[in-house]
């Protein structure tokens, strides 16, 4: 029986119980995630981090939540009152939806019924996740717009431009997965990875996905929307009390959802590491939840690690990476994967496949060499400008070098 059929048999009460379980899992994971992030970042910066509330400071996030509830709930004078209240509601409603199609465990028995810890199994599950995460942008942009203030407006626009730019490369990186799995359903994608994880077979897709998921969730080093030195707090500058807490919750649930999506699509979901001899019969059932949560925490640790290591990018560098590097490279990768797949399916000889792979590798090398050379040339050109006596003031070397060249050429004429 497939997972879809198994889940399709659930009676109404079981669906309700599972929905509450998924919701509870998201909230508890968020509380733990915030605590873990603060502790781990503190360790990376040679601090202790919160360690007073509860054992190891475990209750810190809960204490912060309670504190926020007793803060004044402000609505600024210039704000659009209805939308200002509606925006956090949109964010928090939508952030849980993505988890509905994530397979958290294999077949298990819950209250004496056979089911799987996955709320529903759609044939278009991944498309659905992309759609739902896009609705989250409405919460951000409406919050920024309705605040009636300059910082939130710019922060909200930045966030939404960032999310939609990286959504393209995120979407493109999934195409290779669909080609290999032959399906968009999350449970079938997990089932297709019983021998090899897609993270190994489709490594470039995995890298592109991981980069764009960091950009998509507005996290460091891509957290330009809340660049404190430029925009105060970003789109939620004017929010206080529990409205702010809702945005915070939504942000962390989104991070956990994309981690869960990455686990499902690239690391074999709830399944054990292939080749270690863990079978469904031996370590199946509820034990699969631990595999799932372990892999999700691995991704979450990666998020924290990035935050503790990398400085924030500048906005133009960030957009350049998204539009000029990730999109063309993922398009090229899709064509390469598709060609390889067709060649193997058509039974082409090893010779042709090897030749094709070699050709692609050579092309990539040639392109990168050409790029490096043009960069060196431009640098040398700019260097010469600095030595010329004509402009009496030092010309700043700007990142948009081409513009400088043009300026200088015009001034020479």
């Amino acid at each position: 029986m497939t997972t879809a059929e198994l889940i399709g048999q659930d009676p109404g009460w079981l669906i309700t119980v599972k929905a509450f379980m998924v919701f509870g899992l998201c909230v508890i994971l968020t509380l733990i995630a915030i605590w873990a992030e603060r502790r781990i970042v503190a360790r990376m910066q040679m601090r202790l981090g919160p360690n007073r509330t509860g054992k190891f400071g475990l209750l810190q996030s809960l204490a912060d939540g309670v504190k926020l509830a007793f803060k004044e709930d402000l609505i600024p004078k210039a704000a659009d009152k209805i939308i200002f209240v509606l925006a956090p509601l949109i964010s928090v409603t939508v952030c849980f939806l993505a988890f509905a199609v994530i397979p958290i465990s294999g077949p298990v028995s819950l209250f004496g019924r056979q089911t799987a810890m996955q709320l529903t199994d759609l044939p278009v599950a991944v498309l659905y996740i992309l759609a739902v995460t896009s609705i989250g942008v409405y919460g951000i942009v409406l919050a920024g717009w309705s605040s009636g203030s300059v910082y939130p407006l710019l922060g909200g626009l930045r966030s939404s431009a960032q999310v939609i730019s990286y959504e393209i490369s995120l979407g493109l990186s999934l195409v290779a997965v669909f080609i290999y799995a032959g399906s968009m359903s999350t449970s079938e994608i997990v089932a297709a990875q019983d021998r090899f994880w897609f993270a190994l077979v489709l490594f470039p897709s995995f890298v592109i996905f991981v980069i764009s998921m960091v950009g998509e969730t507005n996290r460091a080093p891509f957290d330009l929307a809340e660049a404190e030195g430029e925009l105060v707090g970003g789109f939620h500058t004017e929010y206080s009390s529990l409205k702010f807490a809702l945005f915070f919750l939504a942000e962390y649930v989104n991070i956990i959802s994309v981690s869960a999506l990455a686990t499902t699509l690239f690391l074999g979901g709830y399944r054990a590491v292939p080749g270690l001899g863990f079978t469904e019969a031996w370590l199946g059932g509820w034990f699969t939840v631990f595999w799932f949560l372990g892999k999700v925490s691995l991704f979450f640790f990666f998020f924290i690690w990035l935050r503790g290591t990398l400085p924030r990018l500048r906005y133009d560098q960030f957009m350049k990476l998204g539009w000029k590097v990730l999109i063309p490279s993922s398009l090229a990768w899709i064509l390469v994967v598709a060609t390889l797949r067709v060649l193997t399916a058509e039974g082409a000889s090893q010779f042709i496949i090897g030749g094709f792979t070699l050709g692609v590798v050579l092309l990539v090398l040639a392109a990168s060499t050409l790029y490096e050379r043009s960069k060196v040339k431009r640098q040398a050109f700019l260097h010469n400008i600095g030595e010329m006596p004509e402009p009496s003031f030092p010309l700043p070397v700007m990142p948009t070098a081409r513009k400088n060249e043009r300026l200088v050429i015009e001034s020479h004429e």
């Binding site: 399709g8 402000l74 600024p76 529903t120 203030s149 626009l157 669909f178 067709v342 058509e346 513009k403």
Partner: protein
């Protein structure tokens, strides 16, 4: 049961949680009126006057949204092709390569015209 019913269930739980939080925040918090507190936050200085309808912002953001639509539609065409890839075979591959190349021409055009530059 319809597979979309559980989605409504989890959405309703999230919505209810949000509503309860909003109501709780309005009830539990203190209310101390202060004129300066209700002004827009601009690091303590007098807020700059806002234009009607939310204020002005750079046209770049609008352009980014338009470009996003182009590529998003490309993705929408790629997904069904990827799912049925094995049935389509060589024909599908060539068709899709032509399609990607066509969109790529537009992409190069936008790049050369400076549509992807931020300054």
């Amino acid at each position: 049961m319809n597979p979309y019913v559980p989605i409504i269930a989890v959405g309703a739980i999230g919505f209810g949680f949000g509503l309860i939080s909003l109501a709780a925040g309005a009830l539990t918090g203190p209310k101390r009126y202060n004129r300066a507190k209700l002004e827009a936050y601009e690091c303590g200085i007098e807020p700059s006057p806002q234009a009607q309808g939310g204020g002005r912002f750079p046209i770049k953001y609008f352009l980014t949204a338009m470009l996003f639509i182009i590529f998003d539609i490309e993705i929408v065409f790629l997904y069904p092709w990827a799912v049925t890839f094995d049935q389509l075979g060589v024909f599908g591959l060539i068709e899709m390569a032509l399609f990607i190349l066509t969109v790529f021409v537009a992409y190069v055009y936008v790049w050369r015209r400076g549509g992807l530059e931020w300054d």
